[in-house]
Symmetry: C3
């Protein structure tokens, strides 16, 4: 079975084509390096609109069957930044540890890491994780949380994800 | 006055008797070693059901007069894991610092610590703290948060708890 | 343009005059040392009442035009401590990273730092940050979060704040 992974770029400018989407491709490249199971990307670019973000998340999970959806953009304090609220609105449960760890890791680079409101949560059999918009920060954040993602997806009965151990050491507790 | 401490095991399997409750006894052992005041345990095992968890918490606090209730189990991302939501539903205020610190401590052992959604909150004159299900993780988490618990219970006007300083250094600021 | 900074002391005792307000002046002193732009303080002392705290926050932001409001007091677990709830009630979005970092810094000094429920959030073009009541803790918390505040206020289109680099290294990413 081929796992499906949603990659959702949330950006007014990327959606209007004013600006090239760099976040989405950065996530796709990371996953290509990290994952060793069969998988395919379900990618979309939406504007910073509550309705558009929620619809895209629901479609990726409920219709397209993604086990993991990674968003990029819209996690800051500005008035248009609403990705965390849209994520929470479609999730049944939240996982605050993802945001805590990603902010802690980003704090090693910039003191403004505390402005990021990124979070994670579960909808059905899918994990949604918010990442920042900047490609270098995307990589730092995924390095931090990726080791926990395959086991999380096991627990919610999504696809079985495996990783290249030289790249990401996924952890599954002994039964 | 004898302090009462609730110990709530949340587990479908332990409730059905399919599986021995290890979490509840681990908490009781820890408290026996750590506390030097008179206290008695009010222990119960419930399934992973919103109604059952909430009723047990309310009974332990409002009827049995517990000053501290410690739960074990039901804090993960799986569909049946709802202890944090049940806790939040019966609390007047939440204390996010407990969950943050416990996840941070657990991260030293396993990267999947970010999957734990454990939290803490206050209902009336009682503090509720969620712990994971695994006995070794229970001990690590209690070592991290126990130093702050007696003063917290003072502030909410619960029982006066004292600890064996060689085991847990409870901190109370000078007045 | 002169920036306005709200300083809100939340304390039943300071409001009744039973006890001198030390938190408000500690914040004012800190800002005087840290900020190099023109600014003026809008200071008020209110009791630990939901309605009074919310009204003061709204007045400082919507009427007086503050770009930053810093509160002191009312962040603990006691029944009268409701500053975080009042803050959340008037904010459009929350910034959990502020509370996480401030608790982490305070944990270096006291294990009871996890009892603090302080948070931060955005209302309109203003950032609200909760600080503890104790003057020494105020200083530690502001040292931790102040480097991120000017850029946060930029992002929400408040006043342009500048700092004395020898005191606080404000970080603004290169455009």
């Amino acid at each position: 079975m081929t796992a499906r992974i949603g990659i959702l770029t949330v950006s007014d400018r990327a959606h209007r084509g004013v600006y090239e989407d760099l976040g989405g491709p950065a996530i796709r490249d990371y996953m290509s390096e990290a994952l060793t199971n069969d998988w395919e990307a379900v990618a979309q670019v939406v504007p910073d609109e509550m309705e558009a973000i929620q619809s895209a998340l629901i479609e990726m999970i409920d219709v397209r069957g993604c086990s993991l959806v990674v968003t990029t953009g819209g996690t800051g304090p500005a008035v248009r930044d609403i990705t965390p609220e849209a994520t929470e609105a479609v999730c049944e449960k939240m996982l605050p540890g993802f945001g805590e760890l990603m902010r802690q890791v980003s704090l090693q680079y910039v003191p403004t890491a505390i402005l990021s409101r990124q979070t994670a949560g579960v909808r059905g059999q899918a994990l949604i994780v918010n990442l920042p918009g900047k490609p270098s920060a995307i990589r730092d954040c995924l390095d931090a949380v990726m080791p926990a993602i395959p086991y999380c997806v096991d627990l919610i009965e999504g696809a079985y994800l495996t990783t290249d151990e030289s790249r990401v050491k996924a952890f599954r507790p002994k039964a």
